[in-house]
Subunit: 191 residues, 2 copies
């Protein structure tokens, strides 16, 4: 098991309904050493993609995307869920269903920071149904750029996200891929 998998086993809590609580090291409190290690790992796995920019979604994608950006020396953009007053009127906007919020959320990126012909690496905390990441893919394609890879800290393989993204034909990497959490026992793919 890698460091993230070990931490999930130690400190993750299965709350039922497919929800894994990792608030003590990913989503509310962040372990900076672990997050830095995950960023280094993504940088290694995506070293050959030619990525020119990293894209994530606020809020909990910011930490892993930033540490990956530090190791890859690439700028990182986080899609906003509400449009700040500093953003221009014309934006790229898409809707994605939020699993944890039970409603649609907006994902908004300013054209100032997602221009033509970028090679975009998408990094997020979770890959579950893949809907948030598909939203980020739509924003990228709307801007005339191309997604070259997708990396998530934790994949829940039983929620079908990888299948939803497979037609993109790009590398999809997760650091901890969970195949089941039945009765609270967390089992990983390849472990």
């Amino acid at each position: 098991m890698n460091e993230l998998q070990e931490r999930i086993v130690k400190d993750g809590k299965y709350l039922g309904n497919g929800i894994l609580k990792v608030d003590s090291f990913v989503n509310h409190q962040v372990d900076p050493n672990l997050m830095d290690a995950c960023g280094r790992e993504f940088a290694k796995r995506f070293a050959n993609t030619g990525a020119t920019k990293i894209l994530t979604a606020e809020i909990s994608g910011i930490a892993p995307a930033l540490t990956t950006a530090i190791h890859m020396k690439l700028p990182v953009v986080y899609a906003r869920k509400t449009k700040p007053i500093t953003m221009p009127d014309q934006v790229y906007l898409t809707l994605a269903p939020s699993h944890t919020k039970g409603r649609m959320v907006e994902l908004i990126v300013s054209p100032e920071y997602l221009a033509n012909n970028e090679k975009v690496l998408i990094i997020d905390d979770f890959l579950a149904s893949g809907q948030t990441i598909l939203g980020l893919v739509r924003l990228t394609e709307a801007s005339g750029s191309t997604v070259v890879g997708i990396g998530t800290l934790i994949e829940k393989s039983f929620e079908g996200g990888r299948d939803a993204l497979s037609s993109l034909n790009i590398p999809i990497e997760s650091i901890a891929c969970i195949k089941s959490m039945d009765e609270g026992k967390i089992e990983f793919v390849d472990s």
Copy 2:
């Protein structure tokens, strides 16, 4: 001028009404090298505070708080503005006026990650009126912990935040302290 000040002069945009747009390197797109340098600088300035935990507010405080946490090897907690389903029913919650949103926002921290007797270093992107940071101070004190320092990337000294925080008698550090933006010309304290 330091690296952040130079970048503000080069890429910051004054939008009027006291609003400085730094979306190209802090708030929407993040320059990871600059953010890492700012984290290293905070770690140096607060090395002697005995801090045991870093506290910030989502969303745009996460990046500087995380890089500071990496350099100080301390856990970082970001106060949430909406309560996620993974959080327990009993939380620390306070209200703070949002300058950019024009309304009160909630700041919520789980007691799981802000326990008694922590020495808390607060890191955020902006120090303007100081109201968000005062909210974080209230959460810290409600938990029985103590704030030992406050660091912000950009201070707008003319908005009075430092005065609002002065009764705390703790170190307050900003990497770029702006004394005026009249007619869009950005002038720093000590430059």
